[in-house]
């Protein structure tokens, strides 16, 4: 696992922009979950594939995504 995203469901409005821009295509809207604000939040479906590139966070209009990346020695 090179990277990890943490999506804050309190902020995510399920707009799907991150889903469209993720180079690894590992984000999708979780249609089984409804946030307190009434949205289907984005979620990572393959955490092992995340590179921590932060493209999703860069495009997120609600600053809902925090990104971690492996520290290289």
């Amino acid at each position: 696992m090179q990277g990890r995203v943490v999506i804050d469901e309190g902020f995510c409005k399920g707009c799907g922009i991150c889903v469209g821009v993720c180079p690894q295509s590992i984000l999708k809207l979780d249609m089984d979950t409804i946030t307190p604000k009434g949205y289907h939040p984005a979620t990572c479906i393959d955490e092992d594939a995340c590179t921590g590139c932060a493209t999703c966070a860069l495009m997120c209009p609600d600053v809902a995504i925090t990104v971690y990346r492996e520290v290289r020695a």
Binding site: G3, C15, G16, L58, C60, P61, D62, V63, E70
Partner: protein, 276 residues
């Protein structure tokens, strides 16, 4: 397991507040970029933001610096006074197209021509969002809105205003750039432009305005991705991206030097320069 470091998080100057913006609205991206710039200058405590009337009317709750909510269109006048009170602070006005280019056009032009050392962030999404999707001064010809239901007919509704082009003739203007935030690459470019706007304040270069061609998925009646596509197809040809004025790139330290050079043939200007 390998050690992980945080590479992207909410900027400190952007308060952890859920915004009133619709899903996919680009206001959130641009405001984050502004907050990142304030953080990078490490000047949150000496920054005052002025927000407009429109969708971003509540932005005073989003930024951690001191904030002023201005009357519709008057943010440049308010920001002018703030900058006159605190010449060494970072002062920004954040305005939409109706606020900046319609009701507040006089304030916009005069703050620009005075060369106020402020940074104006201009969100152009070709529509009045907050009031429900009416025709804006930047709505495109033939664009359908709530108040141009048959499409904006230039024969009686006139033509859109290209703000960067309009302001580029004014001597007080240091920097004008039109950007968008539809892709990671363009978000990075927008960030660079906004940061340049703030840097110009630090260097006392003159008035800076960054126009962000934006979307309004709700009132355009599209998904966020469709909105980006519509914007690229229709807005960018009308509002081309790029730098419209940069007095430093033209070889001047600030707007005063650039203005003096431009009017060198005028004895009122050249005579004054010799005296000084």
């Amino acid at each position: 397991m390998a050690e992980m470091e945080c590479v992207f998080e909410r900027p400190k100057s952007l308060l952890p507040v859920v915004t009133n913006y619709c899903p996919g609205c680009t206001h959130g991206i641009v405001e984050r970029l502004v907050a990142e710039c304030i953080d990078e200058f490490d000047r949150e405590g000496e920054t005052v933001g002025v927000v407009p009337v429109g969708c971003s009317v509540m932005a005073y709750d989003f930024f951690g610096c001191d904030m002023i909510e201005a009357a519709h269109g008057r943010a440049p006048a308010v920001a002018t006074a703030v900058k006159r009170v605190f010449p060494d602070y970072l002062v920004f006005a954040y305005q939409g197209d109706g606020d900046l280019a319609s009701i507040g056009m006089a304030e916009t032009i005069h703050a620009a021509t005075r060369g106020e050392n402020i940074t104006v962030i201009f969100i152009n999404n070709a529509i009045y969002g907050m009031t429900g999707g009416q025709m804006a001064p930047t709505s495109l010809p033939h664009q359908v809105t709530q108040t141009s239901p048959y499409g904006r007919n230039p024969a009686y509704a006139g033509y859109p205003i290209r703000v960067c082009e309009l302001l580029s003739s004014l001597d007080g203007v240091a920097y004008l750039e039109r950007v968008t935030v539809d892709s990671p690459k363009n978000v990075r470019k927008a960030k660079k432009a906004i940061k340049r706007g703030f840097q110009n304040q630090v260097d006392k270069v003159g008035y800076s305005l960054i126009e962000v061609v934006s979307t309004c998925p709700t009132n355009w009646g599209m998904t966020p991705e469709e909105s980006f596509a519509w914007m690229r197809e229709n807005m960018l040809p009308y509002y081309p991206l790029g730098v419209y004025k940069d007095v430093q790139a033209d070889g001047f330290a600030n707007v005063a030097e650039a203005a003096a050079a431009r009017a060198a043939a005028c004895p009122m200007v050249s005579g004054y320069a010799e005296e000084a």
